[in-house]
């Protein structure tokens, strides 16, 4: 055996990290031990990840399975993971006017969510930059306010916020002209105002994240911008924002996700069946009547589905849920890689 062959064989068995042993051309007990340990660790890791991943994926899989089952085999429990007979009838029904009214609702919801996300990220970003770099007297105290907005359950101020938008009036200006405030309930503007003023859904959390991210940037770049004569706004938008684009992406994705699935602020301020998540929450309570409405409109469905059948109701709800989370998954697939990287690379974590 030549030296080269010996090296190759040893490399194969022990891995290149033990080159000290390899150079001597022997396989020690230590090297083998190390190799076995490494194998066990990775086995253990995959085992756990697969098991936990299974827990996460299962409900989604079951959702899809229920949604695509043919009405005739609904009560048959012999198939657990794949539908016994495939059919898209429930999805078609969920798509239809009487249930989700999918396309118009999706357009409305996506538009609202996008506006909310942009406003929220902008207001949180500005506040975060101010907290991280543009310190003034009392800014530490105000940051306590951010923590307070994270900590206080939004239900606590629910009623008072409701009242504020029922009779919307800042500084009494509107009241001077018309005698009473504007009723902004049922108007998407109410949610936009909340988001733009940094009080939207979990805004405090985003301010916290972005502040960490700004703190992690080297200050010298901003100083260079100031020396070169850039103003504060310009420094923020053309130096700070591009250099923390990763964390901004992370925050935007989170904001989009949460605003899209939010039912709390929607039901409080802009209760509207065009909002998918709200409509979904509403459907859960009276799915039977919605199904029978949909059935009246289509005779083919009428002959196949019984609105009082709990299995049919279950499948119906599953199909609705599936349709609602589908756009999220499509969008998530596109940003997935950058999203996780951005979260990891930014100063989102440790102080």
């Amino acid at each position: 055996m030549t030296r080269k062959e010996r090296m190759a064989k040893a490399e194969e068995m022990a891995g290149i990290s033990f080159w000290v042993d390899l150079r001597k051309g022997r396989l020690t007990k230590y090297a083998i031990q190390k190799q076995v340990k490494r194998f066990l660790v990775s086995l253990f890791r995959y085992l756990l990840l697969v098991c936990l991943g299974f827990i996460i994926i299962t409900p989604l899989w079951k959702l899809a399975k229920d949604a695509f089952t043919d009405p005739s085999v609904l009560s048959n429990k012999s198939s657990i993971w794949i539908p016994q007979k495939f059919s898209t009838i429930f999805v078609e029904m969920a798509w239809s006017k009487n249930l989700l009214n999918y396309l118009p609702s999706l357009g409305y919801t996506l538009f609202n969510t996008l506006v909310l996300t942009v406003l929220q990220v902008l207001s949180s970003g500005l506040a975060a930059y101010s907290f991280a770099r543009l310190k003034f007297k009392g800014s530490g105290l105000l940051f306590g306010g951010v923590i307070l907005t994270i900590v206080v359950p939004s239900d606590c101020i629910m009623l008072a916020q409701y009242a504020a938008f029922l009779n919307f009036d800042i500084f009494g200006i509107v009241g001077l002209i018309t005698g009473h405030g504007i009723n902004l309930l049922g108007n998407p503007l109410s949610q936009f105002i909340l988001a733009a003023s940094g009080m939207g859904l979990k805004s405090g959390l985003y301010i916290y994240f972005l502040r960490q991210a700004v703190k992690g940037l080297p200050i010298s770049v901003e100083e260079a911008a100031f020396v070169d004569g850039a103003g504060f706004l310009r420094t923020f938008f053309s130096v700070v924002v591009p250099s923390m684009s990763g964390s901004i992406l992370t925050v935007s994705v989170l904001s989009f996700l949460w605003n899209y699935t939010d039912t709390y602020y929607v039901s409080l301020l802009n209760a509207n069946t065009k909002q998918l998540a709200y409509n979904y929450a509403r459907l859960q309570g009276n799915i039977r009547w919605s199904i029978s409405d949909a059935l009246k409109a289509n005779e083919v469905w009428m002959s196949q589905i019984d609105a009082t059948n709990p299995y049919a109701q279950n499948s119906m709800i599953s199909a609705c849920a599936l349709l609602i989370i589908l756009p999220l998954f499509i969008a998530y697939c596109f940003v997935q890689k950058r999203f996780v990287q951005g979260a990891a690379r930014s100063g989102l974590g440790g102080d």
């Binding site: 936990l52 827990i55 606590c156 799915i287």
Partner: protein
């Protein structure tokens, strides 16, 4: 001409010249406030004022007159009703405390554990990282649902994995039943816990990535075992993240607390919601008192816990 102009400016300084004469630190402070203005506006009008209003409502008997809220001051009457007359409230509050105390430590442990698993170099980590962000979507409750006919719903939705044989095995193994019952609840709840861990996993992953690899290198050269490395490097370095996660988890756990009401479980916030809009406007003050007690309980818990934990937190710089 030029001289005259300068003199005029000197006499009556315009806003822009005033700004130009400021030194840099003052400008910074000014822009700091300008950048903060939208948020400050929101803080005052949509947070502090509603919070103060909630406090005021809770001390009042509320009525709606001509679409406007008006209240007559009745002191702590509402609080008395909530705490001593209402049969459910104190029990529900206690229940949400117990839920928090049993779930949050498990959550923190599990999310740190998962983050460590996800963190290393291995094949397919992009895929696994993507999978473990899904709980953020699931936690919004969009994929889990309850049907109106509860008895039927139980029959339809089987548990994710059938663990009855495992439970039997553990219960009959002769270990004290208190211990096994806790264990069984943890195992049964693992789905709920994992779905609420999304943000925490993300935070921990970011925290782990921020640890400098040179620290691990030093530890390796000095001959630390993996366990020692974990205790002496990983744990102290992620301890600030642990604090953040704790605060986040506790506030989330209170906000989404599930309590039993009659025969079914409802979210505590939904209970308050249902009391608020249950018809008569007298309930407004009453539910405001409920919310305020809830808020104080959350704040005190977070204050106490973070006060204790922050003693053990290590800051690198």
């Amino acid at each position: 001409m030029k001289k005259e102009k300068k003199a005029a400016v000197g006499k009556k300084p315009s806003l822009s010249s005033l700004y130009k004469r400021m030194d840099f630190s003052k400008k910074t402070a000014l822009w700091g406030i300008i950048f903060l203005l939208p948020w400050l506006f929101g803080l005052i009008f949509f947070f502090l004022r509603p919070l103060a209003n909630t406090l005021w409502y809770s001390l009042c008997n509320m009525q709606i007159v001509d679409g406007k809220f008006t209240g007559t001051f009745i002191g702590i009457e509402n609080y008395k009703w909530v705490l001593t007359v209402n049969p459910d409230y104190t029990r529900m509050l206690g229940e949400s405390f117990i839920n928090m105390a049993t779930q949050v430590p498990f959550q923190i442990f599990l999310s740190l554990f998962i983050a460590i698993l996800l963190n290393g170099e291995y094949r397919g980590r992009g895929f696994f990282r993507a999978v473990f962000v899904i709980p953020i979507i699931l936690a919004t409750g969009i994929a889990t649902f309850s049907l109106s006919e509860t008895s039927v719903a139980e029959e339809v939705t089987e548990s994710v994995v059938n663990m009855d044989w495992l439970v039997d095995l553990v219960v009959n193994s002769g270990i004290p039943s208190e211990l096994t019952s806790t264990l069984v609840t943890y195992v049964n709840n693992i789905f709920d816990v994992v779905t609420t861990c999304g943000v925490q996993i993300l935070l921990f992953l970011a925290g782990l990535q921020a640890i400098s690899p040179s620290l691990y290198e030093v530890a390796k050269i000095e001959g630390c075992t993996t366990f020692e490395t974990f205790c002496k490097i990983t744990l102290p370095m992620v301890s600030p993240t642990i604090l953040v996660c704790l605060v986040y988890s506790i506030s989330e756990s209170f906000a989404n607390a599930q309590v039993t009401s009659g025969t079914s479980t409802v979210a505590f916030s939904d209970y308050i919601h249902s009391v608020t809009f249950s018809g008569a406007s007298e309930y407004f003050g009453y539910s405001a008192a409920m919310s305020f007690i809830y808020f104080i309980a959350t704040l005190v818990t977070i204050g106490v816990v973070s006060g204790i934990v922050s003693k053990g937190v290590f800051y690198y710089d």
